[in-house]
Symmetry: C2
Subunit: 343 residues, 2 copies
């Protein structure tokens, strides 16, 4: 987590659209058999590589099938050849980097002495929110709330590695006492907000993590209007984030701008701040590079010859010919690193 | 190939946008270190699955690195959960389905007694063009041309399995004698056309396969204007295909319309016909279903636990816990079929 936070902060601060082409998320949205989306999130480092995450968001997964709400895979392509260099699980990295993004934003927007973390929504993303923020702030306790009480009750076990007291409390107490508050819910489209916004501490910083679909928002409009709202990536936040509810003139500096010039956030202490986290492809690129480095050093994963190659690149049936063994280069240079969870 | 042609024709004829959401290709385009593109091609069968091909087009691959110009991988997602069901090579399937698409179009547009096939551009795609068309037409000979004479000379060996005479000839002879002509070149953006269009048989049918980028076209405008031009998928062909050169009113029925009502093509015999093949995600879906069925029946590929799953779907660190062995369902239902070329 520490490495991911540091690498993300560095990458955001150095971001240059001339060298990195970032796209907003696109995807399929569906209602049957269950509401969900399947989206692709591409980013390219010009002349080097492209990272594309395919991510499914299916809130019915947890209760119905014991699967995470967010399932995903990340592919890393060499843009000098089109070769798939690596394919990795994206489910764990998504949780990791979403936590790291809130940590980076909170470093610039929250009070450094924040001691009470409030969590509204106690699913998988809340675990990494708490983990990431615990690395930067002197947290003393966690107040948590979920519309499903058993989900809130189970949270303490999931974050036992933090060694912090966790209390499942009514929503109003989370709002009243939190120095930093994270909303990470699967609220239905059109059903928000998930907090009232009326009992908040004046200095509260909110990481609004759940808003990632048109119509899906977690925060009340009047709170957004009186807060400093910082989106991760404005073009996407205007479509899918809390920023859907705002006009462009009502929106503060982005996470990129905060990382480059921290005083943009610090200047606004005294009124609430909001990090509108929709999740961006650049975060996936950062986390997958961190994880792949470790996977390679630890020998995790396997190398597969995935693309159809043959001695004669002009012969699509070459791999079927008796003499069509794989060329030497394919045996060494053009395998795909498949990093599977089981290995 | 026969199965792919039949399945594609069936899928096109039955296509219903209420059941299948087809997207046009999007991607990254780059000039350095070599000109190329990396694109994603998504299609969703509502309530069932999504197929997404990631495809690189890098013409410098062949000479520089002995790799195919087109390298790709295809992923198949279950849209009821977001689970990656299968990951397969897309390089061979792309060639296969591009041939099959020309066969379907030619069945509706070319003379059934076409005996001379002309090929302009003798790379990997030309092999499957010749193969696919040989399955539907009484071909007697192949006349081939490539701007690199050695590529044309090597073509006979690559299609020796067809048992047809292959003659490398000047471009003008291909144009004069072909009943069916396929252009499948890596002509540079803005450098087209690749044929003159002045010596063609009046009944010629042309499968224009190479045009797949803004500015990349293979056929002269005056030929397009006097021909019946049938795109595979109009929204994409207007951006990337030969149809870039035309106004919507100058464009004939699409491949979908031909497959549903063959008389739309037959009515126009006597003037040239053009299939503007840009390559569509639906073709990838068809071919990967054909190939996966065979792979499963033949036991090709392997099952990997790719996504990070644990007993508690709300615990992203569950897989790290000592008790966090994979849940039973993950062991059976949620593995990814990775069909690698080597296996």
């Amino acid at each position: 987590m520490d490495e991911t936070i540091a690498a993300l902060e560095r990458t955001l601060a150095r971001f240059d659209p001339a060298h990195t082409e970032l796209r907003k998320r696109e995807g399929f949205q569906y209602q049957h058999p269950f509401p969900g989306v399947l989206e692709w999130m591409p980013v390219m480092e010009v002349g080097r590589q492209a990272v594309i995450k395919l991510v499914g968001y299916n809130p019915a997964n947890v209760e119905g099938r014991g699967l995470p709400t967010i399932l995903s895979t990340i592919s890393l392509y060499d843009v000098t050849t089109g070769h798939l260099r690596a394919l990795c699980d994206g489910t764990f990295p998504t949780a990791l980097r979403t936590g790291a993004a809130s940590a980076v934003a909170s470093r610039h927007l929250a009070r450094p002495d924040s001691r009470v973390l409030g969590l509204v929504g106690c699913g998988a993303q809340a675990v990494t929110q708490a983990h990431a923020l615990s690395r930067l702030f002197p947290l003393e306790r966690l107040l948590v709330h979920d519309r499903h009480p058993e989900t809130a009750r189970g949270f303490a076990r999931r974050v036992d590695f933090l060694g912090l007291p966790v209390e499942a409390v009514p929503l109003e107490r989370v709002e009243r006492e939190a120095d930093i508050l994270c909303t990470a819910t699967s609220v239905e489209v059109g059903a928000g907000p998930v907090i009232s916004g009326t009992h908040l501490q004046p200095h509260v910083h909110i990481n609004a993590v759940g808003s990632d679909l048109p119509g899906k928002t977690e925060l009340p409009l009047d709170l957004l209007r009186r807060a400093l709202v910082c989106p991760d990536y404005l073009p996407q936040a205007l479509v899918e984030g809390e920023c859907q509810q705002l006009q462009p003139g009502e929106i503060g500096p982005s996470l990129f701008e905060l990382a480059r010039a921290s005083e943009l956030g610090r200047r606004h202490h005294g009124r609430p701040t909001v990090f509108d986290s929709t999740g961006i492809a650049l975060e996936d690129q950062v986390v997958i590079e961190v994880l792949l480095t470790h996977a390679q050093n630890l020998g995790i994963g396997r190398l597969l010859q995935l693309e159809s190659l043959a001695d004669d690149p002009r012969d699509p049936y070459g791999f079927l010919r008796t003499e069509g063994v794989l060329p030497e280069a394919a045996r060494t240079d053009y395998r795909t690193q498949v990093t599977a969870c089981e290995s």
